[in-house]
């Protein structure tokens, strides 16, 4: 996968400016097209992703305070709608739901088995407020689930119908490191529409540009005005400034090589002493895709169903083989997660599996920090004279 461009560019249409009413019109236009609009909204003390009936439900005036194992919503002094970074969910909750029925099977009186494929008739989603890191995460899951020899058709049906409205980051959190991963804060490719929120003396507005013909078509139907130099400059500078305010960094080395060369590192013992192997990081991670299968029957025993549900490499059963799990120690399970995410993902799917969203840091109950672990592995490798 190519690294995200640091400056944005479009094929679709000229950029334009929407105000808050324009944003509202955008939601209504997408709903009128039969789409289920999903976006951020303040609920239960968090910024969650949920179906929006109008743009008024966006978390205007809310920000977040993030740290290892710490998440708080905070009132802002302004009315920004997208001044929050990654929340507890990601778009995989919609594109790759926790539980999916894959097929059903029935056994007739003669013992004959008939199998029925599940019809994939998902909602036609529009995702409003896809952060650049999450935009990349979607592309990464696309590669895993659609890019190989076998396609996950259920995912494909949800994904190909989804309309993506990216919102560039101007307010990175303390746990963000998208710059290190090359995924933000400017939006990379893959969006239908990209917005940059601008809030200054000239008002609250959104610089908008289309990335696809459908995006251009939707934009054209909204109340808007042509982009002006002031808005463009403000948007550009805000994104540039955000790039300089990342709360975290990854060591600037070849992470794939670092992880391949540190399988025996002492650091794994250190992190294993802290890790609860709860799997929160895998649930919160926008790219973690692992699933397991469940076979169920009804009481007659003649109707069976195959379900897939999220699984985690922290689960002991995940690597079960014959007598027991291959990865029985917490050390090996944390190592599996980190080496996969930053290292072997490249071998398997051609890119890193990490987008720098920081969710795994925030939602870890003991505040294990993926960037800190990577730095520690790097330091240990340096001290042993290994590759830098």
């Amino acid at each position: 996968m190519a690294t995200a461009p640091t400056t944005t560019r479009d094929l679709g249409s000229a950029d334009c400016v929407l105000d808050r009413e324009g944003l509202d019109a955008l939601v209504q236009a997408l709903r009128a097209r039969g789409r289920t609009v999903v976006g951020p909204t303040a609920r239960d003390g968090a910024i969650v992703l949920a179906e929006l009936e109008s743009a008024a439900e966006l978390p205007y005036g809310w920000g977040v305070e993030l740290e290892g194992g710490h998440y708080r919503v905070v009132r802002r002094e302004d009315e920004a709608a997208f001044a929050h970074s990654a929340g507890p969910q990601s778009w995989k909750n919609f594109l790759l739901p926790e539980r999916v029925r894959q097929w059903t099977a029935d056994r007739g009186p003669d013992g004959e088995m008939t199998v029925r494929a599940e019809r994939h008739d998902p909602a036609s989603y529009a995702f409003l407020g896809v952060r650049p890191c999450d935009l990349r995460a979607i592309a990464i899951q696309d590669q895993v689930l659609l890019g190989g020899r076998h396609r996950d058709d259920a995912y494909g049906a949800r994904r190909t119908g989804a309309f993506l409205i990216a919102v560039e980051c101007v307010e990175p959190g303390a746990t963000c490191f998208c710059v290190s991963m090359g995924t933000g804060p400017a939006a990379g490719p893959g969006y239908d529409i990209a917005l940059t929120e601008v809030l200054d003396d000239a008002g609250h507005r959104f610089l908008a540009r289309a990335g696809t013909p459908e995006g251009a078509e939707v934009l054209a139907g909204l109340p808007q005005r042509p982009a002006d130099a002031v808005t463009r400059t403000a948007a550009h500078e805000a994104v540039e400034a955000a790039a300089g305010r990342m709360g975290r960094t990854m060591p600037s080395v070849d992470l794939r090589a670092l992880l391949a060369d540190t399988l025996d590192a002492e650091r794994w013992n250190d992190v294993a002493a802290r890790c609860l192997t709860c799997g929160n990081c895998t649930m919160a991670c926008p790219t973690c895709f692992c699933t397991t299968t469940e076979d169920v029957t009804d009481l007659t025993g003649d109707h069976a169903e195959r379900w897939s549900r999220w699984d985690s490499c922290y689960d002991l059963d995940f690597s079960h083989l014959h007598g027991g799990p291959v990865r029985s120690s917490g050390r090996s399970r944390y190592r599996q997660w980190l080496t996969h995410k930053l290292g072997t993902w490249h071998d398997q799917f051609g890119s890193s599996g990490c987008v720098g969203c920081g969710r795994c840091i925030v939602w870890c109950p003991v505040a294990i920090d993926i960037t800190e672990e990577a730095h520690a592995l790097h330091q240990e490798a340096l001290s042993k004279g290994g590759p830098s």
Binding site: Q102, W103, A105, R107, G111, E112, M113, T114, V115, A117, V144, L145, G148, R149, H150, D152, D153, L263, D264, F289, C290, T291, T292, T293, D295, V296, T297, G301, A304, R306, S308, D311, C313, F318, S319, H320, L321, V326, R327, S328, S329, R331, S332, R335, Q336, T339, H340, G343, T344, D347, Q348
Partner: protein, 268 residues
């Protein structure tokens, strides 16, 4: 073909050992794409679950043989099937034994226990094309003479060499007692011009590969079949990872040049 199982009917069952049976399956309607030796199918026992099973036989009419050891919930259910029952089948999945790679080479087929099953179609393919390669050696390790698979076929596989070593002999056993690698001294092969195909428990694979490398067989010419937990077989579920490999996609057959460093890391 790969996401939803196709019904296959059990048309024959042949007991191999006290806990192992070979079942012959034929498609009820549609047929899966053709399998290559070394590849596997996901076999579904109605309402119980699905397990990966390598093909033990590829029949010209679209039928398949699977040798199943009834030790778990799903394999136990499959073991108990009688002719007429139907199972669900997905596949073919994974990499195959690369017989063309071995063109002109001596062949060394080394099997341990149920590991002989995935090698059976390879042996048959090699026997069918004797001009394509050098000497065919089949080395089989088993727990006891009673645990040997395909007993009535084994004698026909000596082209020129077929050896069996058992861990525990029973009365009247005239063959070798010991690990399968002890047979290497008897098998006629030129290490530098040999391709080996190894399948069995991982400890046996490592010991065999180490011995073959010591004798001068090239690491990339030692093909081994590896196993990890497998759920989807379509490279979407993440369970079968072995470091950089997804064994349902990049395996189960892997060159030992790639496998050795991975198998050396504990709990990888």
């Amino acid at each position: 073909m790969t996401a939803v199982p196709l019904p296959y009917r059990v048309v024959d069952t042949r007991p191999e050992t006290a806990d192992t049976v070979t079942i012959r399956l034929e498609p009820v309607h549609e047929t899966l794409p053709s399998f290559a030796p070394g590849q596997f199918a996901m076999v579904y026992a109605f309402g119980v679950g699905e397990i990966p099973v390598s093909v033990a036989g590829i029949l010209p009419d679209g039928g398949l043989l699977h040798t199943i050891r009834g030790v778990g919930a799903v394999s136990g259910a499959l073991y108990a099937l009688r002719p007429g029952a139907t199972v669900g089948m997905r596949g073919p999945f994974g990499t195959s034994w690369d017989l063309p790679l071995a063109a002109g080479d001596d062949l060394l087929v080394v099997a341990g226990g149920i590991g002989l099953a995935p090698l059976r179609p390879l042996v048959l393919a090699a026997l069918a094309a004797p001009q394509a390669h050098g000497r065919l050696n089949v080395l089989v390790g088993a727990r006891s003479p009673e645990d040997l698979l395909y007993r009535d076929e084994l004698d026909g596989w000596a082209r020129p060499y077929r050896g069996v070593a058992v861990d525990r002999p029973s009365a009247g056993w005239k063959g070798r007692v010991g690990v399968v690698t002890t047979l290497l001294d008897e098998a006629p092969f030129t290490p530098a011009e040999t391709t080996a195909f190894v399948c069995g428990p991982e400890v046996m694979i490592r010991a065999t590969a180490r011995e073959l490398l010591h004798r001068g067989v090239r690491p990339d010419r030692v093909l081994v079949s590896l196993e990890r937990n497998m759920r989807c077989a379509t490279a979407h579920c993440g369970h079968c990872q072995l470091g950089p490999l997804l064994l349902c996609r990049d395996g189960p057959v892997v060159g030992y040049d790639r496998a050795e460093p991975l198998l050396a890391v504990r709990e990888l």
